[in-house]
Amino acid sequence: MVALKHIIDELGLKVYCCRDTLDRPIIGGYSGDLLSDVMAHSHAGEIWITIQTHPNIIAVASLKELGAILLANGRAPLPETLEKAEMERISVLGSPLPAFELAARLSRLF
C-alpha cells in the first residue's frame, strides 16, 4: 500500500479537489475509459487512470470505493464533475502524461 500523498509527490500530480483526503492508502491502480468496464473490473482502494471527465466518473469511483481518479493527457474535470467530487469526497488528480506513462510510473511505487 502506498499513501496517495506519496503518489502525488512522486508523479508530480495536480490536485483538483479534496486535499484533505490525500492520506488515503492506495492498493494499486486501474486504467480505463469505458466506465462500464471500470465498474466491472476495478477494485476498492485503487487509483483510476482515465481521460473521461464526465460527472459519471465520480459516481463510479464512489460506487467502487476507488481511492482517487487520475486524469491523463492534461484533461481537466468539468465544473459539475468537481462539484460532485467535493460532495462525494473523491480526490481528482491530473497529469499532462498519457495513461501508459502514468501506469508505468505508478507500478514502480508498488
Binding site: L35, V38, M39, Q52
Partner: protein, 224 residues
Amino acid sequence: MSPRAVAERSAQLGLELIAVCDHNSAENAAAAIRAGRRYGVEVIPGMEITSREEAHLLGLFPSVDAALEVQEVIHGALPWENDPDKFGQQIVADDQDNVEAFNPRLLLGATTLSVEEVVGLIRRAEGLAIASHIDRGEYSIISQLGFLPPTLRLDALEVSYVLGLRRGREIYGKYGLPLVCSSDAHAPEEIGRGGLQIECAAAGFKELRLALAGESGRRIVAPE
C-alpha cells in the same frame, strides 16, 4: 448506401417510415426524403451524433432545416479531417444517386460536445433525443458512462436489433423511458433487421413523437 437504394430497399420491405441518421451529418437527409417520396416511404431527417465521451446519440428532427441547424454546430465541433485513402470518401448524393460533394471532416470521429450538450442541441431544435443501441459494449452511453446520467433529458432509448424490444424491456425498463428498436443499417441488406410497429394516424415525425410519449392514442406496438 445511396439515398435511392435506401428508399428502394425500404419500399421492398414494406416499411412506411424510416429515419436516415448518418454519423454526425444530415447532408443526405433532403435527398433521402425526395427519394423516399418516389418510393412511397416517409423519411425522417436525423443524425447519429458522437459525444466527446464517444457515446452515440440519435437526433430525429421535424424538418430538414432543423437537422441542418444542428448539423452546423456538430460540424463545427468535429476536429479531424477525413483521409479518403484510409476511411473512404464521405459522399453527399442527390436523390438519383449522383455524387454532389464530399464532406472533408472525419464524420466517424467524436465531437467535442458532452452528452448533455448534444441532447440540449437536439431538444432546442425540437428534435427527439434517443440514446443509441444502449445494449452494445461500445459507443453506447452505458458502455461509455457506466449508466444513464440521471439528469439527461432523453426521449427514448434504442436497443439493438440483436437484443430486441422484449428483452430490452426486461433489462432497461427500469429507466422508465420509451424503448425503440431499429436496424442501425450501414448497408442496404441490413435495412429492416430491426424496427417498430407504431399505432398512429399517419407515418411521420409528429406521430412518432406522440407514439413515444404514448399520447392521443398513439403508441409503440412492439414486434412480438
